[in-house]
Symmetry: C2
Subunit: 631 residues, 2 copies
């Protein structure tokens, strides 16, 4: 039943071999990997203005130009830095790998922890912003912000559980539609503005008292606005992380995608910032800046709704980027022992299902806590990714300096500049956004690092306890030094199930004991009486249990002098378990068996053998004869 639903939603299981088909070309890869960066134009200008406008009013629009310029400069530095990373790490050069490789374990897991936080926030921020695009177009949906967010989250999650290529197809065309729509808006907007078709919005804003006409522009204010804008650059690292997902030639394809990505971010982010400046849009609570620009230029025509819808879809795709990267990242960390092993296993559809589910759960929680507000999430957002940028660039810098090789000075300079600039950005964000939420991330990342180290240490401890070196293997002789296996069969009453268990016990050992836990005397007397009728050498032990427990008296008996147990002996306890035909029949059999099993297994020398008892369907039974062949 559950399985059937799962099949419909997720699809049929895929064979291991199917993995080679699930790869990106440039055309299909760009929309998936670039969507995070490109989609940020839906909120980056707005978040910059949200800091500036309330403080300095109309002056904000001038400052927006400078800040956008700075961010585009940063983008170019990052692009050249990451091209070098792609070249150097054709098997995937995420910050985790680059930092581990060149700076050591701690730097590596710091990058891993930072990136994980970043991916989770990308999902939360993108989906919140995508929902804002919808509610801007249809204000009546505003009260349903959180449910809409969660609905989008679920759609993206199920898309990804179905597997890589299908999700790529599912989301690709709308990205191109979005790029086209925004370009059309920029061209139309700029042309119409200079033709004087639209009155400048500033007069409206000022006369309505929404815009102050002046205010003091402080450095702190500019840096705070800049920090918000840096959210536009998250996602640039996506390409270098995902190289193994590209078709051959992987490096060339990846570099091409990175270049196209930067080009579109530059064009669209620059363009929308320009429009926000020309049209003096006032960032408000209920309508996004982008939707206000679109409404000014196109009115409430088809193009307006087209832009809103494609915005939502590209933001859903941005969330989708994290769904490609986060599970891959945690699977790498799990493979190295820093995260639970389950995260490194591919599911039925060859996607890392556990990672996908984990990402969805945490992002969903953030959306609920922050009520789907992009502005509330932004202060937490960029810091994680810039920490990983910085570690990755430092790693590359050290690599060139250590390994040298062709053009190493030039390469070291590029990555060194990247490392320096991104470190400065980390500090700017940490200072200006600390009180607004960055503190959460600054606490969470070290906690994650500690947790990862603990996980690693546990796995190492287990591996040490299990490891056998080849020379140890050759000295092992399974057939020699066999210990004695002793068997205990708990019997509640003498029926076909207990006879079957006793018979099984006899096949696996010469030393068998039947054990009855007595809760009332009469039942035990009856058991003993019926037991005496059977032909067997197996002794029956009866123990009274004043607290109505089963496992405790059994363990006491095993530890007692009375029980002939030698060092090294293993004791097998046989527990029958009903296997019923209808799920609700399970409710009718108390599951003390599994509780008892859990308690017994705490004992080092006890093996619990669960013996299934297939019960037949009662309806059939009533018609059939009473012959029972449970044996």
């Amino acid at each position: 039943m559950f399985n059937r639903i799962k099949r419909v939603i997720i699809g049929k299981p895929l064979k291991n071999e199917a993995i080679h088909g699930q790869k990106y070309s440039v055309v299909w890869g760009l929309p998936i990997l670039a969507s995070d960066a490109i989609s940020s134009i839906a909120y980056a200008s707005e978040e910059i203005l949200l800091v500036l406008v309330p403080a300095v009013g109309v002056l904000a629009y001038g400052e927006l130009t400078y800040i956008s310029g700075a961010i585009i400069g940063l983008l170019l530095i990052l692009t050249f830095s990451y091209r070098q990373t792609i070249q150097a790490y054709p098997n995937g050069g995420g910050a985790y790998i680059v930092a581990t490789d060149n700076l050591g374990t701690i730097a590596g897991i710091t990058a891993g922890a930072s990136l994980s936080v970043d991916y989770i926030l990308t999902v939360a921020v993108s989906i919140s912003s995508g929902t804002a695009a919808i509610t801007s177009a249809f204000p009546r949906l505003l009260p349903f912000t959180v449910p809409i967010c969660l609905l989008i989250l679920l759609l993206v999650m199920f898309g990804n559980l179905r597997g890589i290529r299908e999700s790529s197809r599912m989301f690709s065309l709308p990205t191109y539609a979005f790029i086209f729509a925004i370009l059309a808006m920029i061209v139309t907007g700029v042309v119409e503005h200079f033709m004087g078709v639209h009155p400048s919005a500033v007069s409206v804003g000022v006369s309505a008292g929404v815009l102050k006409t002046g205010g003091e522009v402080s450095l702190l204010l500019l840096l705070s606005a800049f920090s918000n804008g840096c959210a536009a650059l998250t996602g640039v690292e996506a390409v270098s992380n995902a190289i193994p997902n590209f078709r051959e030639p992987q490096i060339k394809n990846a570099k091409t995608v990175l270049l196209l990505l930067s080009f579109f971010v530059l064009l669209l982010f620059g363009g929308t910032s320009l429009l926000a400046n020309l049209y003096h849009v006032v960032p408000g609570q209920d309508k996004t800046v982008l939707s206000q620009i679109a409404a000014s230029i196109f009115g409430h025509s088809f193009m307006f709704y087209f832009i809103q819808v494609t915005t939502t879809v590209i933001l859903a795709m941005a969330a989708n980027t994290s769904y490609s990267d986060f599970p891959l990242l945690v699977s790498l960390m799990a493979r190295d022992g820093y995260a639970p092993r389950q995260l490194s296993q591919r599911g039925d559809r060859l996607s890392f299902s556990n990672g996908i589910l984990m990402l969805s759960a945490v992002a969903g929680l953030l959306i609920i806590i922050f009520r789907g507000s992009t502005s509330a999430l932004i202060p937490l957002y960029a810091i994680g990714v810039f920490i990983s940028f910085s570690l990755s660039q430092f790693g590359m810098f050290k690599r060139w300096v250590t390994k040298r090789g062709e053009h190493w000075v030039h390469k070291a300079l590029v990555n060194g500049l990247g490392a320096f600039v991104t470190t400065v950005v980390v500090m700017i964000i940490a200072v200006t956004k600390f009180r607004h939420g960055a503190w959460i991330v600054i606490i969470v990342i070290p906690l994650l690092i500690i947790l990862m180290l603990k996980v690693k240490s546990h796995y190492q401890s287990v591996a040490r306890q299990l490891r056998l070196e080849p020379h140890e293997l050759t000295s092992i002789d399974i057939e020699k030094d066999l210990y004695r296996n002793r068997v205990i069969v708990p019997v509640e009453s003498i029926n076909r199930a207990s006879i079957r268990a006793l018979r099984y016990a006899r096949t696996i050992s010469e030393h068998v004991v039947a054990f009855n836990v007595s809760i009332n005397e009469e039942d035990s007397r009856k058991v003993a009486e019926r037991y005496s009728l059977i032909k067997t050498d197996i002794p029956l032990i009866v123990r009274y249990s004043p607290f109505r427990k089963i496992a405790a008296p059994l363990l006491e008996f095993v530890e007692s002098e009375e029980y002939d147990r030698r060092k090294g002996d293993i004791i097998t306890v046989i527990i029958p378990q009903f296997e019923v035909r209808k799920w609700w029949h399970n409710l009718l059999h108390n599951h003390s068996a599994s509780a008892i099993e859990r308690q017994l297994l705490k004992h080092k020398h006890i093996v619990v053998a669960t013996m299934p008892l297939q019960l037949r369907n009662e309806d059939l039974l009533l018609k059939a004869e009473r012959k029972v062949e449970l044996k």
Copy 2:
């Protein structure tokens, strides 16, 4: 951790022997068993007036007197009927037992189902009404009605999980306080009224336009009001149900308690109805009738608050009555196979914990659905208990007619009258309250009956499949006809755990196979290579699993020609399981083992042996030497 919290709340486990100490005397038993009936005066008059006042205005108060008289008459008939039941069924004469005994199975479980529904509703109604007493005194708490209800529910639940006698002590004194407080109110109220201290409220009500001065009194209206009032009589059966809980002499004590119960109900219900009539109280949404009477007589003095508090407490005790009876009833039904077996087991504190938890869950749900409104719950309430009254009385009637004996005609007349009257009441309630909620109960009871029959039929089927007659037992020889036991050891890699499993396999069988499920070729090659280093005759089988599953290829192998399996052979599959020291370490080991176990156990001839691997604490390990003695 969980266990420690449980101990603090529930108390230490009690031995079987402790059960004899946990019994009622008359003085301690009365407050527990009578509280359901006595507490109903907190809402019975109000629910009658709620039907009458909106329809006929001031005429309602006259009709209230007649209806109260009818209900008191019904009480007397029931009291005499149930005295005979107590005498005839000293081991507990609940409707379930009496009906089963005299009228057969279907009548018995019908009574059982009806009573179960009644007990659940007693909890919901009493707690809702108790909360209304609080919110009448402190109107600011009105918005918190449902949380207050649930808080009381939890308190009563935990009190009962602690065990019988303690809950008796906990709740006894307040009942006597309540009886005293209401008697004081009745005496003061009647005396002051006839001394003319208070003006009749009717003038106030009428002049304020709250009370109509006339209207038509129809028969249907009276019957509907009467149906509501019948809620006052639920709980009369509590005594006959609980005879085994009484101290010796049980019958005498039980009869005394029943008589005292009826006396107090008569006195207090009659008295408050009289007061409602004298003071012409108008039933409203926010203040209970009882609180309005108390406020009229005592003002907002100490006595007013005393009455409100004791009302709440006695209503909590009424809920507590169901907590004595419901678990006992379902344990009886479970013992007979009509309900899941778990319900017949006593918990750590000798109370039937599963029944207590079940009652709390369903009652809590009702409170949430009906938002803690007594009036909304009342139409569902009385029908269940009157069905069981009726079945019980018919059973007694048939008993006397069949068995005869001393004074049988007189006895048959008493119970026959009871049976007739209660059947008429069932029909009145079903008709007048059908639309207001009785339909729910009328649907639920037959569903419960069907479910109980299905449960019984399942247990019978299981018993048939397991049963061995004595002559079959004597023909069993455990030592003869032993089948072969074959063992499969799944190995993921060659480490101490798999060596330990192979060695164990060797001790229990000559026919062992090591089985590697290959997900990628390299791992399997490594396993085979390392396996070849060990000295052993056990063959290693490798199977490729394209869908990354473990159990499926194993089951396929077992069913294949290649595997030498004869009819009757049992196959033991050995699965190692990590036992970790810290709970969170469980998250680090994927629990595919238990999933695999579940799948294998569906196979009739497979036994799953779980082999625990105690992992040592890593922190200690890091300090200790690397010597590992997992064997």
